[in-house]
Symmetry: D4
Subunit: 252 residues, 8 copies
């Protein structure tokens, strides 16, 4: 459904020819435009309450530039680009608002959504090498309108570092726990917290860390309740889900 | 030892009623009772806002009976027992309120918490063989005070079955998607929903289903956003986390 | 040596023109020419009804050039080269008809076979990153004389995209379903279609995608009937098999 | 859609209120009945041109009996039951036509479809231990109306056994190649044949046979073209797909 | 070397025909007797400073009885039997001193060595299901003359339980940390302790616990220093090594 | 059909006694008899210089009895049955010469071939639990006419035990090294020996022994030259190959 | 915050100089300084009796330089830097004492601790390719004040090389056994020694060496007692643990 | 044992002070020199009847040059260097006889041993990409004095190619079967041959070829007798073992 069709549909509603409920369903079910690179899902913002997201991995700088501008022209004002290389950043035509977050390897076209809740998302990492994944999660959550608090390098081997943040962990609304190596952070945080914990294994480590598989398995077997897991290094997925949960209050 | 007790302790020190050295020893939190089978964490209700849970796997009928009664005597009025065999159920001394849910292989000592929210948790399965895991999730969520809606046997190979429930999926508050074999249900549900989806791989299948590993991997790689995963067959974990998310509204 | 030649040989024995011992030696089928790089199977066209194929991976530009020309001189007029790098393409001496398909990383020496059937092969992909594999499959099928229809970037996470092609899926003769990550596309397509579905896992994804293994396992466990699987990224194999099936009608 | 609804729909078509094409689409998209055990897909026969199939694994004798009779009452006259144990067979109420095939661990309620093609499906096994899987494939194909030829115990270690059947392999319409251990049968058969080969790895073997994984990997890496693979021990899937391909001629 | 030969050797030393150093070397290099079941290494007590050990797994009750009595007759007075089933325990002829430890599935023929050090070995477990492995470790260490302190069921998900034992952990001489599931206990204990930590993964857990592999990988990747790992469920190995380390003081 | 028969056939063609077409059909080697259980390869004795072998695993006592008697009637006088259970042994009709070797789980119908060489095969094991596999290897080699020397329970952890047999290892003609757990025996034996070493991993061990996989990997990575490996627990394969090598002298 | 400081704090409360609420906040142990790169644990020296360690992998030359100087300014006089590249070494500002050990890829800022024990640590390797890992272990142990003896390239395939060092192995206090490929060194050394053996698998090898996994599995399954294992290539971890054990005597 | 010691030992024999047998044992047990790079095993020629071998992988050009010259000076006249890069070849000081075999990535310092047997080793490969491994095997065998016959690119998918060499396979003394992908070559060759077959899996293939693991597993599960396996790409090991077997005749 393109812009013309969407307008027509809304006019039908305006004229009383279409019930709003039916229009909503139509908009949800057939919301995509067709440009040659990929079928853009330009109503995702409507359907899932968030802006559009471009997954930059495997896309050329040219493709990212083109899709980004197409979405902007479609009217999107908050477009997150993840896994965006320095090369893509340099290539991008900055004739539209654009901010790059190097540690997160992400960019925002337009502007972050304004924070519409006071509930904080806590992002915790085991080590300093986990920070790029953490920043991807944090920038994603911030882009989607969430206040984010970062606590980095508090791995369980020096448990006192982590425990000095017990207060923040116990009062958090949602926690993203990010760790490589043995991934024990998720279990300890999950035991202290009484909110959902999204565990993100990272590919940090060597030998039997197996590129994040050990941390993943460890997190899946967490003896703490309230912990769920996303793919290795999937900071975006964690940030997106955390935002979804953090906005749950508005439903009631 | 809760915050009040800790403050009391520090005030005793301030009043000179307690030597600093003795306070140092006491300041190590010890909020648990000690019975011989396992150190019961009888303040969990306070700390995490839920009743007590007994993980029945690997425990003898005698142990479950003993821990269950100890918790009841401690004042717990909602005690969930998971992975409880028929043998354990038969052995259990029913001199206290006790209900057994055979499909879920679970029991509730005392009573389920009354539903304190109208927001529903949706439990969806790919096949009929996934039902025991689904019931474990559903009974867990109900015990913790959530309305639960079940939609079973709507695997993606007959996508029209699943799509006939599009309305329920699009309006759900939290979804638990349970599937074995190739686990594709999580991706399709995740694509339709705009709420958190907790994916539970099950050990249903044969050959390269590898006891649930294929479904797990599939779910971790879901191309839909908002999906996170728990351990294979971990219905309890999914139900617990879903309840946590479903109660988020109360925080704001 | 084909059946005619063999019969001729036995008739020579019958006529006393050939000693039984010499015939014994000749009776070992040797239908191949010997050039120094590889024993070319120049009768494959006869035996399997298709042209000759050069698997370019692991061959130097020089080797591909040499084998390609040798086959052309042998009389082959449809020679498909797969996994052909840009370097090999540039090196190739274009004194014989030669067309390069960059997205498919493939070339045709001579010309594609004319389409000898109206039955279409449908090539479907989950994402845009799967396109190189899809093009290898499509170009293979077209080279072997099949009409091919492409539907790209219709992953199950936005199921409406895929469902908007329900008609084409339901009326296809053979479908090649190509996807990385969780590979759920095969199951959904398999459930909608009533024709053979050849599933091709791709190495698209990261972390627990394990270079295509997760998609492979998912496809092998498809709960839909009529689905079979080829090796990761094996677009050629899928295109070849699809062509074989698409030409089955001629046998009856 | 239940019987009443289906009748209503057909009456609309009869009265000219609904175009036949639209009715067909409706029937394809919403074809299931609801009984308490599982949502029966009672129009599969219409949609995919075959009878109904009950996957017996994980179902109790009572469930199989009930579903079988429900399908019969719904008008199905060819119902295949796979993975049906001796216990289920004994329990089944034989007040309706019922035939059990012990080697295939399968049964047919009603009758096999009459063979509607002369094209044969060839079922080949490497050893005698692969026969149960082979029989599941053969009985499935026969039930769906295909002539089937069986060649068992012709593993490649005694290559002359297999080669003595070169004629049958070279003239087959579709081949199902079934082997455990190293699974080399698929490659050799695939090299000899010029028709689609469906390879079925079996769990036959010990040690590094890894329950069929080695045969599976071997088959996926077959250097022969035209070979695709289904799950370990999935005789049904192979027979179903073979039947689909074997009936392709009717489309042109 | 049997008793007669050993005596002869010692007489040579006594007569000054053999230097003590040479005799010691001879004794170390050729210390075994031959009985028909297995070549008993009857000087292990001499060589490694400990009694003899019988690994009971895979041995019949008859074999254990026979080896046990043979060692006793050879003069051994502290013989540990590990992995000894109830059946073997019942069969054993108790005409020689014998004590069975059911939780540890172990027995001592003769008597435990008297504790010859005050330094304690601390045995810590994550859950109650880890206790059999812990008891195997503890009984092994006690048999070899070490004081042992047990702290069970202090998994990291309820970190306060573990922290209430900080004092004992910080002052321990050697720690054996035993856990299944995600095995995070080793990292937290390793971070708190300043003594060697021997980590023992157990096969406790389900699904992706993979029979102890997840705990093993987690422990190998511990971010704490001073942690090393033994095989899954290898309580004996941990107890033996802990005893070795706990007796190190005597060397200086 | 052997070479003589083939020549005879061609001579018949030369004499006009046989039509070329008929000869063409016959020329496909068919050196096997057909009984209903399995196609017996009754010329294997001629082709590979050994008697016939029945692989008993997966065959019923009835099948073994039937095949054994069929081979005997065919004239075979040395028939080895491997993986033969006690049940099969008891069922076997002993109206023909039959000897059962319980530790090897093997039997010989007829008689072992007389030793036709003085060169010995050395069978070495790491532990006592490896003996069943070792006996299968030893009995196989003896059946095929080889003198065999056994050295059991000489694992590398007590290296002096193994070194006390250095002389035998250094002078052996072929060695079969059998070990489970870490499989280090193959490397040490391979380093001492200057003859071919056939390594057999066994499924002895627990936890990370992974049913023989660890021993297998260890043996494949042996830093000693002259070592090759067979499947886990494949005593028969090792004995057969050792016999082949041990008879090599006769060729020169 | 150390024990003295904590006691001081409680005494301040006792004297009324500090409000209980403020004490409550401070009582969360915070013994670390905060610089922007990582939270330095500057009391580790006190708590674990060793200097500070910088894990160089994943840190930029700038970060290492900065952390190194910060620790020196904090008063640390023995700072070990592991996994330090040539680039980092060249960048490091040598205005403070600095020694680089190229084979170990490690450096010491300040000076090694003087050897405070005569007990030696023995470092043994299977091959020359294992030397970098061995040197990391040796330099770590030397930095922490231990005499170290190196015996390199004594793999078990030439067992006489290793046995020529039997005396040193039998009299060692702690042994670090380092090997890639099949890792059998640990078992043989473990069988000869009567002291703790720390086994370090290395990533040396190819094919089924799987980057050290085979050596790791082999070492975990060592049939010798007293052997424990650390992560692949973890020379630092082995050296650190060996030092800990080698200093045990001082405790008694 | 260095040259001086060896001379002294031989003088003792000459003077009758040492029995020749004892001297032989001494020479076998302590045969190594010490140069700084690696402990050279300079008597390997004596002990195992072959020249010295330098494994070039992981060694610098300088190290190979140095070890090669040291061995030459020690009197070795046939020194094989495997895994030798072009760089190492260019660096090597050719002041001593030196021949480089580029396809085999190997060199011979001095000269190949003259062929001392007429028995041939047959080297067979499945594809052209397997040739480097095959040449490493062939050059190794030739260096050790064996006639070698090569048959390359005869994979089983075109079985007639392989069968045209049936004569050579059936009359071979030892066969080295080399293949990647599905590795079926070993089974078919093993079934045709009546001599030992050494199977070498190669890392040729993609996707689920898993770098040679699939071929390895396939070969370990070969249903043919007389087949054993070496590590992936281990051409040297196969050539060395084949030579050992090919020289067996001399022992009798």
């Amino acid at each position: 459904m393109n812009e013309t069709e969407t307008k027509k549909l809304l006019q039908q509603v305006a004229r009383g020819e279409l019930a709003p409920d039916d229009a909503l369903l139509s908009l949800k079910m057939q919301p995509f435009d067709d440009i040659d690179i990929a079928k853009l899902d330009t109503h995702r913002g409507l359907r899932q309450g968030v802006g559009e997201i471009i997954y930059g991995a495997g896309k050329t700088p040219q493709q990212i530039d083109r899709i980004g501008h197409a979405l902007w022209e479609d009217g999107q004002r908050t477009i997150l680009v993840t896994r965006m290389s320095r090369e893509a950043e340099e290539y991008f035509n900055k004739d539209i608002p654009f901010t790059y977050y190097p540690e997160a390897r992400a960019a925002v076209i337009g502007a972050m959504m304004p924070a519409d809740t006071e509930a904080q998302i806590l992002v915790v990492t085991g080590g300093t090498s986990d920070i790029p994944v953490a920043e991807e999660a944090a920038v994603t959550a911030e882009t989607l309108g969430n206040p984010v608090k970062r606590i980095y390098d508090v791995g369980v081997a020096g448990i006192h570092r982590l425990l000095s943040h017990t207060e923040e962990i116990m009062t958090a609304n949602v926690i993203i726990a990010i760790a490589g190596m043995e991934g024990a952070l998720a279990s300890v945080v999950g035991g202290l917290a009484d909110c959902p914990v999204i565990a993100v294994p990272t590919s940090v480590g060597y030998g039997t860390a197996f590129g994040g598989v050990t941390a993943l398995l460890s997190m899946l077997n967490s003896c703490a309740s309230g912990v769920s897991v996303v793919n290795i290094d999937n900071g975006f997925g964690a940030g997106y889900l955390a935002s979804m949960i953090n906005h749950m209050g508005g439903k009631q």
